[in-house]
């Protein structure tokens, strides 16, 4: 049986761990487009191109994992990557959560068909700042998004796989409906 490739897109604010989760999950050496940041963004490196990794989920299913830059001025990369998206993972830094408007704009940029594209949220850096998951879930629900929310450490394979398996399960469930 031929392998089917699907596109998983990792979005989120700067420093949320998008490049890290791709490094954690990928079974190939990831394409890494991080460069040294010239302004203070709370970390040394920032993504300016597309991060790419790949993981095989089943004998006939491989997932290409695409990470996009968190900064909006790179939205031309977002436009390229969101085409034919299979599922979306949103990572949020607990100590630098975007405003409601920014968050909604980001989600809507990538997901315009709320019923079709699965979305899962991973909240990172919760060791630095506690995070009220209920508020986020209510916010998403208010805007018509049904998205499980987890606290994760993107360096941990188990945590990262949890997000991946969750989007895959949502995708399977929506196919069965």
């Amino acid at each position: 049986m031929d392998t089917v490739y699907r596109k998983l897109v990792v979005i989120g604010n700067v420093g949320a761990g998008k490049s890290t989760i791709i490094k954690t999950l990928s079974e190939i050496e990831p394409v890494d487009t991080d460069v040294e940041s010239s302004i203070d963004i709370g970390k040394e490196l920032t993504t300016v191109g597309i991060d790419y990794g790949r993981i095989t989920l089943a004998k006939d299913l491989a997932i290409g994992i695409y990470g996009v830059p968190g900064q909006k001025r790179y939205s031309f990369v977002w436009d390229m990557v969101k085409e034919n998206m299979w599922a979306c993972v949103l990572l949020l830094r607990s100590d630098e959560v975007p405003s409601d408007d920014e968050l909604l704009e980001l989600i809507q940029y990538f997901i315009d068909d709320k019923n079709e594209t699965p979305l899962v949220v991973g909240v990172t850096h919760t060791d630095k700042q506690s995070f009220d998951m209920k508020v986020l879930q209510q916010f998403l629900s208010k805007h018509g998004y049904v998205a499980p929310v987890f606290t994760i450490d993107p360096r941990e394979k188990e945590h990262s796989l949890l997000l991946l398996h969750t989007v895959a399960s949502i995708r399977e469930a929506s196919k069965a409906r």
Binding site: D34, V35, S38, T47, G49, P69, Y74, F76
Partner: protein, 125 residues
């Protein structure tokens, strides 16, 4: 080369080469340092910095993982001209130098201007 000298250098380049439309120096993370353009409002200069830094980062990944070498330059060929990109180390930091030409400039001439500009900027650095 101080900031003023770079601005004068960019001005001279655009004046001297009729078919050279834009020169841009940006940080590798896509912030414009100096830009000169004959394209008016047609091209957002912030966008030039973001796009050229992305292209450099992807080209560098391709250079390393596919060719096995260090990235030197990227050329984008279009029916309206070329976009030439060079990575340049200035003041100890990597920068992105980009040139946009009209369709009447030959690639060889554009490459000569780009390489010569890198040398000049490095000599003044």
């Amino acid at each position: 080369m101080n900031n003023e000298e770079i601005i004068v250098f960019f001005d001279d380049l655009l004046e001297k080469h009729f078919h050279l439309k834009l020169v841009s120096l940006s940080t590798v993370d896509g912030f414009g340092v100096f830009q000169k353009s004959k394209l008016g409002d047609a091209v957002e200069l912030d966008r030039v910095s973001a796009i050229t830094s992305s292209l450099v980062s992807l080209s560098a990944a391709g250079s390393k993982q596919v060719v096995g070498g260090q990235f030197l330059s990227t050329t984008v060929e279009t029916d309206e001209g070329f976009l030439l990109i060079r990575k340049i180390l200035m003041n100890g930091k990597d920068h992105v130098l980009a040139f946009v030409t009209g369709k009447d400039m030959l690639l060889g001439e554009a490459n000569f201007i780009a390489n010569n500009s890198v040398k000049k900027l490095l000599n003044f650095n």
